[in-house]
């Protein structure tokens, strides 16, 4: 598991209010199916911004961005976050 994935899972654990532990999820597990609400996805976005020091542009503020750990990682990578970057 990459450092990015670990940090995303920590963000989810503290902000997503999921019905299962974030560490129990697969890369492509549907977060909305395990309890992520639209409102909680806003918290996840803001917490990711704090964790990774980025700002999500309007173009990424959509449901599909927060569909899975993999989709969040891809969004962060599109913002220049590479594995191991602090």
């Amino acid at each position: 598991m990459s450092q990015i994935d670990l940090r995303i899972r920590n963000v989810l654990e503290g902000n997503a209010r999921l019905l299962v532990a974030a560490n129990a999820l697969n890369d492509d597990s549907d977060l909305y199916e395990v309890g992520l609400s639209s409102h909680a996805s806003v918290n996840v976005m803001l917490a990711c911004e704090d964790e990774f020091g980025v700002e999500f542009p309007e173009s990424l503020l959509r449901k599909s961005t927060f569909q899975s750990i993999g989709s969040i990682r891809r969004a962060l990578e599109s913002l220049g976050i590479a594995d191991g970057a602090e």
């Binding site: 209010r17 639209s38 409102h39 909680a40 806003v42 918290n43 976005m45 803001l46 911004e49 309007e58 503020l61 959509r62 449901k63 599909s64």
Partner: protein
């Protein structure tokens, strides 16, 4: 007459928590400056008011049934009049989707209790719209 209804519910405590943790960044991502003009964010009533408005935005999204293009929250503005009535104004992709769905004027009603806020949005639908189910 054919109508379409959207409904959503939002925990007031969750909104209060987000306000506390993220402050202006949180409200700035969800609400326009115009929407917040009449809202005192320091008021103890602010979490409930914002929860109602967020629920209204989500209720409208359900009515719009977006597929490829999902409107942004700020494309759905919720205003309160001095007389206590609420009004919803759509713009950008939200307005375009509403037109394509044949939606008319939107009417919204709020309620709250037990720690949650809820919003119901109703609109008449143009029966000639091809999205209307028979």
């Amino acid at each position: 007459m054919t109508v379409r209804i959207g409904i959503d519910i939002q925990s007031i405590e969750e909104v209060k928590d987000s306000l506390t943790r993220f402050g202006a960044r949180y409200v700035g991502r969800l609400f326009t400056v115009a929407e917040l003009a009449g809202c005192d964010l320091a008021s103890p009533f602010a979490p409930r008011q914002l929860a109602e408005r967020f629920a209204a935005k989500e209720a409208v999204l359900k009515m719009l049934e977006p597929t490829d293009i999902v409107p942004e929250w700020k494309d759905i503005e919720v205003f309160s009049s001095p007389h206590g009535c609420q009004e919803i104004v759509l713009s950008a992709s939200a307005a375009q989707l509403a037109a394509s769905r044949g939606l008319g004027a939107l009417s919204v009603s709020f309620s709250h209790g037990g720690g949650v806020a809820t919003a119901v949005v109703v609109s008449d639908v143009d029966v000639n719209d091809n999205m209307v189910r028979s």
